[in-house]
Symmetry: C2
Amino acid sequence: MEKTVPVLRAILSSNDRAARQVRQGLRAHGLLSINLMSSPGAGKTSFILACAAGLRPLRTGVIEGDVAGRVDADLIAAHGFPVVQINTGGSCHLEASEVGEALLELPLAELDVLWVENVGNLICPVSYDLGTDLRVVLASVPEGHDKPGKYPAIFGVCDAVVISKIDLADLLEFDRAAFVEGVRVVAPEVPIFEVSSKTGQGLSEWLDWLRTRRGAGATAPGAGE
Amino acid sequence: MEKTVPVLRAILSSNDRAARQVRQGLRAHGLLSINLMSSPGAGKTSFILACAAGLRPLRTGVIEGDVAGRVDADLIAAHGFPVVQINTGGSCHLEASEVGEALLELPLAELDVLWVENVGNLICPVSYDLGTDLRVVLASVPEGHDKPGKYPAIFGVCDAVVISKIDLADLLEFDRAAFVEGVRVVAPEVPIFEVSSKTGQGLSEWLDWLRTRRGAGATAPGAGE
């Protein structure tokens, strides 16, 4: 007696396939990984450094994505953290295959937390899963409170929103309520934090939340694959 | 006797064809047109409003590009300037065909200056000629002085660089020399201005230069076609 065996095959893009590989590799090492996305100049590198210091004794590694240059990677390295620079050479986002290559250069067994600092761009990185546990958007006060309404997709897909440079909120008349309202349109539940990497304001609340995400990767895209 | 007649045909992308049409249309109306590009939140709309006021009696019109929303267009309209909003619906840049459509909604015969406010993005808009006379990059002080090194292409193609929010330079320890040095690597000659749309600082120098560009469109890409 013959039986028809249904064969199901997910049609994955090449980026999604690479992201799945990255995710498996990172999970095998028990790493908490974060794809950090923002506009240019929102303070991603300063934020990563502040988090890396605050998370000790957890050990941090970084993958730096930039169109060109390596100033951020040099800064991270100067602070003693393992770092790999990816230069996209004109491309507007990181792809999972680039992250996968960068992982080969990092001492994964000696790390607990991995940051992937994306290219500064609020639009294109949304479409590329990098295989991390979390996607976090950093939105800086000087950019203004209207950014969620103008760039809704990135706020809709992320696992947390962090408002950076909060020490400038009063000076620049940043309207927190309007910002939060804009986020809530696309992300009714996403946690929103306020931090200043310069003064340390708000970092402990954010890091408390981040610590709870270790081992909680099951909510991430592609979980359980 | 037969002769071989060489047939030369420029291979233009569909965007370049649309840009050529836009350029012809704008020139026919004697407009000075500017494609204004920047990161999200660099202050493009405030800058346009400050310029529009400073350029009177020249008459200003605006095309607003955003992924979503129309807050900037509403603000421009509230100040009495003709404006058309383009929502790219997820796309990371404006294209010339979108500008061409928007032109149909503007009273071109009653305008002297047309601003096209691009989507907030330092990378993707570089590749799309919109048919304007000028391409101007607005780089805000809070983004930091390292942006030219990280996003060199946009600084390399533009006709002028304007540093915005210059009133924050001292507070945020903005390193002007490092910024200018970064620009000079890719654009040895491009004029660099410093302005504050809030205090008015530097606007008159910038507007003096801009006024000299009226009728000087022959240096723009595609000129003479």
